[in-house]
Structures are given as structure tokens and as C-alpha cells.
Amino acid sequence: MSVPLLQFEDLHVWFDLEGGRELHAVQGVGLELEEGERLGLVGESGCGKTTLILAAMGLLPPSASVAGRVYLNGEEILAEGEDSVSPHRWVDIAMVFQGAMNAFNPVKTVGEQIVEPMELHGTASGRQARRQVGELLERVGIPAARASSYPHQFSGGMRQRAAIAMALACKPKVLLADEPTTALDVMVQAQILQLLVGLTDDFGLALILVTHDLPVVAQVCERAAVMYAGEIVELGPTDTLYHDPRHPYTRLLFAATPDLYGTDEVVSIPGTPPRLDRELTGCPFTLRCDSSFAPCATIKPRLIATTQDHLAACHLNDPALKAAS
């Protein structure tokens, strides 16, 4: 089997809290991403989506400790911490941060800011870098001449395009996009999503799209991972997740999302996610679940394959447990 482009293996992240306590934000995540693939990462706020991709970038704050492995083309990039991850950051794996469109330096032109990562990583400089900036801007749908504009001269949608151009400055193979359309109007959102799809189709760029918006993932991504309480609870093709979900959380998330033409009742999920600063027993979703049964309170379900390309962490998929109860 070929080596995946990006692979997470049993990744854990803890944050130090005051009073010596720890918050177990990511609890053993495994995930693989192929070249040119679009993968959605969905879940409620606080489920660990952003922490997971920041770990792959080596950009977690000092209060975080990480265990587990992240491989890029088979090379373990977190093995030596900053030393092993920094040669790949922006060069092979890049990120569009949440709110990136509002994080430009207001006193520098957009072009100058896109040149910075190129010069910092030595992928281009001088006239060559400026030419590449023009090409990048054109690719994301901004006229090359606008490189000399300042961020405030751009609309919100254009700033988000520029933020994507900046992430692509060193021609990475993987793009991690954290809620790239959340603050945008629906028409501008459609433009940005079309751009991201075009980039993966045309250049083989692999995309992890982090969002709480299931319909966006359904329309853009081939596969999706549903995260809950720091873990992936279901992973599979988006079509299967919608039509044949094997974890009640996935089903309930879809049921909580109004659909333009849907006529079924929209229902909220009761309760809140568990606190991650204490040990959890059993299934982390059991208290909010509408189909939990005896083993859920005590036995923690593992993420197991229900079909070849579909995984879920739910005892309902275990015939032996179901028969016993």
C-alpha cells in the first residue's frame, strides 16, 4: 500500500490548566489524507478540531504537550519537536487560520505580506517572488496588480482569498483550513468553496476543511471525520455519513441542522459535551445519546470498521454487546 500524504497516529494533546490539572483536548486520533483529497473535520466547539490541525503545524502554545505521531509522506514530523516540524511548515503543510482575513498587517501591502513566507523559507525572493505573488493572486481570483493594495482596500471575500494565497505561497501539498467561510456571506462563501475545490482538483492539493457546518462539508468533501470530546467518533464518505450514519452523534448533528428543502423537524441535541479535564468512563456521548444502552456507561467504544471505508465508535455496531444486553 502506498504511504498516505498526511497521517495522524494515536495523537494526544493535553493543555496544562491552573492548579496542576490537565485538559485532554485530543484523545488518540488516527487519520489519513491522500493527495488531492478533501476531508471535512466537523464537530461542536471545543471538540478538538482546531487543536488537532494546529498540532500537525507544530503551532500549539507552550502549555500544550503532545504524544503520538504525525507523518508527512512517511516522515515523522513531530519526532524532534520544532526542529523536525519547522522545515515542513508552510513549505509542505500550510494553514488558513480562523479569522485569517482579519489578521493582515494593516500597514503593509498584501503583496509584501505574501512575499514574507517565500523569503523566510527561501522558496523565492526578489523579482521572482513578486512574480509568484502575481500568479498566486490571479489563481485565487484577484488581479495581480492588486498586490500593491493594502488590506483595508479589499472586501472581506478578497481578504479571505488573499489569506489562501498567502498559505499557498510556498506551494504546500496539504492545506488545513479552519472555518474558512464562517464569517462570510453565503454568496462569498460559495465563491471561496469553489476556489478551494478548484485548488484541490487542479494541483492535487490535499485539504482538511475544519468547520461546524455540516452542509458545507457535505457539498465540498469526499470524506469527513466527526469529532466529539477530543476523539473521532465516525469517519467515512460524506454520502455514507448522511445516508447511513453509524454513530448517533452524526445522525443527531444532521438532524439539528436545518436543510433548505427538508421538512423533517429540526431537533437540538440535549446537554453539553463532557468536560475534558477529568477521566471519562464509558462512551463520552452516552449522556446525550438517544440510543444508549447498558454497556455505554462503563465500556468505552473503540473506533472500528463497519465497512471497508467507514469507521464508527459506537457499541450499537457490536452485535455481541447488543445481544448481551
Binding site: Q194, P215, T257
Partner: protein, 334 residues
């Protein structure tokens, strides 16, 4: 104030609200032309008791300014606003203050709209004190508890002594709703009431608003989310550049849109089912600047079906061909 029951609770006619654009010292001296942002540019609609109308549109389309103009939080330039049978567009600010107790505003962000130093009791009680209502201490306490119960914070004892930071986002929004219900208003203007909340709790807040609507409250909901509007509103009004360009029964507008702007908006709304993919009809650029509204139909520069007449004729809302009752669109080609 007696027989508005069958007629409209709120009737807005030809509402115009503009904001002057500052010219600066140089502009004033060189007598640069006075410019104005035409935030609301001739909006008309009505809302009945027990009805939810969703004002839908992109940012800058004038949704929020419309709501603020109705409450006279910004002063409209012209037009009439009939609320409970009375034209409130020109009444004194003192009269307006008494009328505001019947019309409450619910904000988008429950993390910002609640005072962090106030316990839930104080937040919900405040409107009673401001409007000098609710009698003595015991009676006010009773009304606060009732409002919390109506907002789904039950039992109220569990919440009444808490501070906002002890509550989840959904609970905070319920506290804000309780505070707007405590005066027993007739009209609620809800500005993006769930857009800051997690998907899992949105439905609960929307179901709560839906229940209040069923019990007779008129709700004007401002949202950019067509799916939410389609699900919960009785009617949808689509705004573009300060004007309502299409209005009608919610399902009808979504399944049988007549205005090319509405058609494009609907085509780009992502659906839950991956198999429902249809090529989105993406409009290029963004909503133009409301300082320079295009002549003729304001949508014509971005319209895929515009004809020369569209550059000269400013279309009125009218019943388009093949539309159901109560469905209006402002397009000469519809």
C-alpha cells in the same frame, strides 16, 4: 389599539433610512457633493400577530437597519411605521419610550449582550425597573421567574442567581429572551438570534421562538441563513441593497423563487445531502456599495438575465407569473 387583532401588528411603508457620509474638512471646503449611504431605500412589509417574517439578505443589505429604524434606534428619513395601529414614525421620543415596551430587540451575541456583573435575576428584572412596572419586589420576582420559565430555563431557581459566565451559550441566549419577554411584548425583533451558537443548541432556541410565535407574538427574524428561514418563518422577505426584492410564503419563496437574486442565493445554499449537489449559480463580486446604488434595477449589474430596460426601470414589487398568493417579486422579467 383594540381591533388590530386581525389586521397587521406592524405595517412598514416605504421606509427610507440614510446615513450621511462625512466629507471631512477638505471635502466640505471644496464643496464635494454630499453623499449618503442608502441603507434602507423604500422598504414596505407587514407582520401579523403570531407570525414570523424572516428578513434575509447578505451583510450590507439593510436588514439590521430596517429593524433599528422600526424601533427608532436610528431615525428613518421618511416612510410610515404603524405599530399596534399607531403611526410611530413621528411620535415623540417620550411616547416612543412607552411603546418600546411592546416591541423588544434580541441581539445576535449572547456573550456580548449580557452584563457580566449582573446575575440572571438583575438582567431579566431590569426592563421592569426601566419601565417602572411590575409593582413591588415580590411581584417583580414572580414576573422574572415566569419569564425564565417561558424562555425554557426551568426550574427558574436553578438559573436566577447565576452569572452569565456560569451559563452555556444557549442558556445565555435564553436569558436574553427572558429579559425581552418580561414586559410581555407584542413584537420581537430577533437579529441573527442563533448565528453565534453551536449547531446542537440552535434548534432549541428556534423552537422556543416558534412556540412564542404560536402563542401570539409577532417575530421579525433577521438572518442570513435561508435554511433556517425556510424552516421556521411563515414568510420570507429577501433584501438586496436596501430594498425588498422578493417576498412570499417561506416554502413558496424557497421552492419557486422568481427574482434572479433569490434564485442565485438559493442555488448556493449548501444542502445536508451530498447527493443533492447542483452546480451553484455563483454571482461574481460582492453586493455593491449602497452609496452608489445602480440606476434602474439595483441588481442589474450582477443579474444573469438583465435586459436594457433593467438599466432604466426601477421595478416595483408585484405578483409574478406562476406565483402563489402573497408572493411578490421586484423584477420586470419575472
Amino acid at each position: 389599539m383594540s381591533d388590530y387583532g386581525q389586521s397587521a401588528l406592524l405595517e412598514v411603508e416605504n421606509l427610507v433610512t440614510r446615513f450621511p457620509v462625512p466629507r471631512g474638512l477638505v471635502g466640505t471646503v471644496s464643496s464635494r457633493p454630499k453623499l449618503a449611504v442608502r441603507a434602507v431605500d423604500g422598504v414596505s412589509f407587514s407582520l401579523r400577530k403570531g407570525e414570523m417574517l424572516a428578513l434575509v439578505g447578505e451583510s450590507g443589505s439593510g436588514k439590521t437597519t430596517t429593524a433599528q429604524s422600526i424601533l427608532r434606534l436610528v431615525e428613518p428619513e421618511s416612510g410610515t411605521i404603524r405599530f399596534l395601529g399607531e403611526d410611530i414614525s413621528k411620535v415623540s421620543s417620550r411616547r416612543m419610550r412607552t411603546l418600546r415596551r411592546h416591541a423588544q430587540l434580541l441581539f445576535q451575541d449572547p456573550y456580548e449582550s449580557l452584563d457580566p456583573r449582573f446575575r440572571v435575576r438583575a438582567t431579566v428584572e431590569e426592563p421592569l425597573l426601566v419601565h417602572n412596572e411590575g409593582g413591588g419586589h415580590a411581584e417583580r420576582e414572580q414576573r422574572v421567574r415566569e419569564a425564565l420559565t417561558r424562555a425554557g430555563l426551568t426550574p427558574p431557581e436553578l438559573f436566577i442567581d447565576r452569572y452569565p459566565h456560569e451559563l452555556s451559550g444557549g442558556q445565555r441566549q435564553r436569558v436574553a429572551i427572558a429579559a425581552s419577554l418580561v414586559l410581555d411584548p407584542q413584537l420581537l425583533l430577533a437579529d441573527e438570534p442563533v448565528s453565534m451558537l453551536d449547531v446542537s443548541v440552535r434548534a432549541g432556541i428556534l423552537a422556543l421562538l416558534d412556540g412564542l410565535r404560536q402563542s401570539g407574538l409577532g417575530i421579525l427574524m433577521i438572518t442570513h441563513d435561508l435554511s433556517t428561514a425556510a424552516h421556521y418563518a411563515d414568510r420570507i422577505a429577501v433584501m438586496y441593497l436596501g430594498r425588498i426584492v422578493e417576498e412570499g410564503p417561506a416554502r413558496e419563496v424557497v421552492t419557486n423563487p422568481k427574482h434572479p437574486y433569490t434564485k442565485a442565493l438559493i442555488s448556493v445554499v449548501p444542502q445536508r445531502d451530498p447527493r443533492a449537489y447542483a452546480a451553484p449559480q455563483i454571482l461574481h463580486g460582492e453586493t455593491p456599495n449602497p452609496i452608489a446604488v445602480p440606476p434602474g434595477c439595483r441588481f442589474n449589474p450582477r443579474c444573469p438575465i438583465a435586459i436594457p430596460d433593467c438599466r432604466s426601470t426601477d421595478p416595483e414589487l408585484r405578483v409574478p407569473a406562476g406565483a402563489a398568493a402573497g408572493h411578490l417579486a421586484a423584477c420586470i422579467r419575472a
